[in-house]
């Protein structure tokens, strides 16, 4: 896989779209992360210096799925870059007759839009969109496929916490992603990005929620485990995914009680962890199910930093894909 080959960093960003992490090279990912590092100050400072990088540009948030934090984050990111932002909600998918996703996008594009940020319940929606419009497309989550900006902000947060912001080189780190991997776009994007940046990934959860097939992907350093207690002492970072009840079709696990007992990150279980374990969660949390409040609000948690860093990541993504 070209992605992990050590090649010279690209001088400039050449991609029209950000549909996923998988197609990116490690250098492209680092370019975006470095760009976010540059925006970090702008994104967090209260007295905002005027940043006009996207002045006169139009960014549309096209959300087919409910979202609070991602949507707000993209909106704020675009505003901080002085772009005009249009928020659009569409319900359901084109399966219920009516206008197709592609038609909707073409219509929006006809209004003179530079970048569409798309969230959709169907895997591949962002890519299909990108193939049919001339403007840039940023994937804000497509079904169970990818959520690239989430993975980027997660990597940024890890680098920040572990003092690797200068290189974004995560070599030597082991990261556990725990929970409903099967239905998680966050897990897929994280898997691609973390391994591209040099980290090893272990996917943890019951066999019904962790597809063994992901461990057979070529060129990706990933293992699968089912015993969280055995994994916990071995890892530097743990990313606790939200259990997505709405996406689980069959009897994937017996009860919430059993899930929490086996895979919940409790204060008691944290005693097995390394002292500096970085605890992450993409939100929204099911407190008491996959993560206990004492841990979520404890010193190891970087959950709110993740949200904060999301702004800089999305500013960088928008700035890179939007044509000057």
């Amino acid at each position: 896989m070209a992605a992990t080959a050590p090649t010279a960093p690209p001088l400039t960003w050449s991609r029209r779209h950000l549909t996923g992490i998988e197609p990116l090279s490690a250098e492209e990912a680092r370019l975006l992360l470095a760009k976010a590092r540059g925006y970090h100050e702008v994104s967090t400072r209260r007295a905002v210096p005027l940043c006009k990088d996207l002045h006169g540009k139009v960014v549309v948030n096209l959300f087919y799925e409910d979202s609070t934090r991602t949507r707000a984050s993209f909106r704020l990111a675009a505003s901080r870059l002085s772009a005009d932002v249009l928020d659009m909600s569409a319900s359901g998918s084109s399966v219920s007759k009516g206008e197709t996703l592609i038609d909707t996008a073409r219509n929006i594009e006809a209004m003179g839009v530079d970048t569409i940020v798309c969230r959709h319940s169907q895997s591949g929606a962002a890519q299909q969109l990108a193939e049919h419009v001339a403007c840039a497309v940023v994937n804000a989550g497509d079904g169970q496929h990818e959520h690239p900006t989430q993975a980027l902000l997660d990597a940024f947060t890890i680098a920040q916490r572990l003092d690797r912001l200068d290189t974004f080189d995560l070599t030597g780190l082991r990261v556990a992603i725990v929970g409903d991997i099967a239905h998680s776009r966050v897990a897929r994007s994280n898997l691609h990005l973390l391994t591209k940046l040099g980290a090893g990934v272990v996917l943890v959860g019951p066999p019904t929620l962790v597809p063994g097939a992901l461990a057979r992907l070529p060129g990706v350093d990933v293992t699968v485990a089912h015993d969280l207690d055995a994994v916990l002492p071995e890892v530097d970072v743990i990313n606790m995914l939200r259990v997505q009840f709405e996406r689980i079709a069959g009897p994937a696990f017996p009860s919430q009680r059993e899930y929490t007992a086996l895979y919940g990150l409790t204060a008691r279980r944290m005693q097995r962890a390394r002292p500096g374990l970085v605890v992450m969660h993409p939100g929204p949390m099911n407190r008491g199910l996959e993560i206990e409040s004492a841990v979520a609000d404890g010193p190891n948690a970087v959950i709110l930093q993740q949200v904060a860093n999301g702004l800089a990541i999305r500013m960088a993504a928008l700035a890179l894909v939007t044509q000057p």
Binding site: S94, T100, H120, Q122, S123, D142, P211, L214, L217
Partner: protein, 468 residues
């Protein structure tokens, strides 16, 4: 009615063991004679350099009428058949409403007669409204001319209903065709595996096909092979292995006198299977860019499965080649992958694709390919007078130019839909003339035709006389 002589072609008639270069004389809609005609006069087609085969038969197509005429009609589907060299097709009952009673069977025949292009034979549903719950009017449909029974598109999920359907169909002598997909395991958007996991698409595992094949084989065996059972569009290495073993057991049972033999000289047996062109040429990798033209049911599998299918075709485990021609509108195929409909069209490039998959790499020879596309299908669906060129057979003939080089252009197709993943593929070998009931329906090279006025020379000229 006029005489038509096809001169100087390589006549391949597998059922009658014929493979020789000679002339074929058609008269009054029947095969009149085979042999050199000293001074041909009247209407002729110069078949020199070409193969003269019995009219190709496709036992598995979806013509969408009634109910979904925006995708295809019986008339446009029959035009697509003729354009691809097929003279007879068997249409599946997943129409709206389903073909599940005798009036529906009669309707299909009526519409096909109006179109006047290819022979169209209805396959009746095995269960009412294809719901898999209670038996459809199998006896009445048989009487009205249904040539087979199937709930294709969905399997008969209940083992009990399946056993009852198979034993009931046995009394008609017709074949049951199973869409082999365990309903509790199937239904995903693509083949289960690393690629589906990566793309975030629900997987449809090989196991779902294999379980259904194994279950049905056991039911068929428990009924003493009284009914014919046929696996549609097989895709898995495991399924081919199961079918191979089942056919061996069936043959042993016939030899031991404990199962009915096939009544045909070159019988295909009572436990059979088919494969479709896309499953021989494309792998799941075609789904990697969320191209909905790669979304099929059953799904595209892996190279290992393709190899097993090719082996099954080569060793006789697979008896039939069938397209599963499944037209869908552009709008439907432009939907998101997971919600776009399954299937692709097949009739107009199937022959060329089989040549690419089977003849070019020498998996099988021409007589065997012709058998898989003609007499075997006629035997499966008991189409009297079809599938061979013996004297008195129906004058359905396909002339194939094995050297004809062309590039697939779906926009030039006679059928209504354009959902073809092979669009733009360069292919070699094609049906250049299609004769149905002694009438030349299409001849791509007008210079080969003498004394037959007004013949269509392009697929688009097959514009049906009657469309909805």
């Amino acid at each position: 009615m006029a005489t038509l002589i096809l001169t100087g072609g390589r006549v391949i008639d597998p059922q009658n063991g014929i493979d020789q270069t000679t002339d074929l004389v058609l008269e009054d809609g029947k095969v009149r004679a085979l042999g050199t005609v000293s001074r041909p006069d009247g209407p002729t087609i110069d078949a020199s350099g070409c193969i003269v085969a019995p009219g190709l038969i496709d036992v598995h197509v979806h013509l969408r009428e009634p109910g979904q005429e925006d995708k295809e009609t019986i008339a446009t589907g029959a035009a697509a058949a003729v354009a691809g060299g097929f003279t007879s097709v068997c249409c599946m009952p997943n129409t709206v409403p389903a073909i599940d009673d005798d009036s529906m069977v009669e309707y299909i025949y009526k519409q096909a007669a109006k179109a006047g292009l290819a022979n169209v034979y209805p396959v009746g549903a095995a269960t009412k409204d294809r719901k898999g719950e209670s038996l459809a009017e199998i006896g009445l449909m048989h009487r009205a001319g249904a040539v087979a029974f199937s709930d294709d598109g969905t399997p008969v999920g209940s083992a009990r209903v399946m056993r009852d359907a198979l034993s009931y169909i046995a009394m008609t002598g017709r074949v049951f065709m199973q869409h082999c997909e365990d309903p509790t395991l199937g239904g995903g958007a693509m083949n289960a595996g690393p690629l589906a996991s990566k793309l975030g698409l629900a997987g449809w595992p090989s196991l779902a096909e294999e379980l259904m094949i194994q279950r049905d084989i056991m039911i068929a065996e428990s009924l003493g092979y009284q009914a014919r059972w046929h696996a549609q569009h097989m895709t898995t290495a495991g399924g081919v292995a199961l079918l191979r073993e089942a056919r061996q057991r069936y043959n042993a049972a016939v030899a031991a006198g404990s199962a009915p033999g096939d009544s045909y000289a070159q019988g295909i047996g009572r436990v059979t299977g088919e494969v479709s062109p896309h499953h021989l040429l494309l792998t799941e990798d075609a789904c990697a860019d969320y191209d909905t033209h790669a979304k099929m049911n059953p799904p595209l599998r892996t190279q290992r499965d393709i190899n097993a299918l090719l082996e099954g075709v080569a060793d006789g485990t697979v008896s039939i080649l069938a397209t599963d021609h499944a037209p869908h509108t552009r709008e439907e195929k432009e939907r998101e992958f997971a919600v776009a409909p399954y299937g692709i069209i097949g009739l107009e490039c199937a022959l060329s694709l089989y040549i690419k998959a089977l003849i070019e790499p020498s998996v099988i020879d021409w007589p065997r390919l012709i058998a898989l596309m003609t007499c075997h299908g006629a035997q499966l669906c008991q189409l009297e007078g079809k599938g061979h060129l013996g004297v008195g057979a129906d004058a359905d003939v396909t002339i194939i130019d094995p050297a004809h080089a062309w590039t697939v252009d779906a926009d030039q197709f006679a059928g209504k839909s354009r959902n073809c993943p092979f669009d733009g593929w360069p292919l070699t070998g094609r049906a250049i003339a299609t004769v149905v009931g002694g009438e030349v329906k299409l001849a791509l090279d007008p210079e080969r035709v003498t004394g037959v006025p007004g013949v269509a020379t392009l697929p688009e000229q097959l514009h049906p006389a009657f469309t909805l």
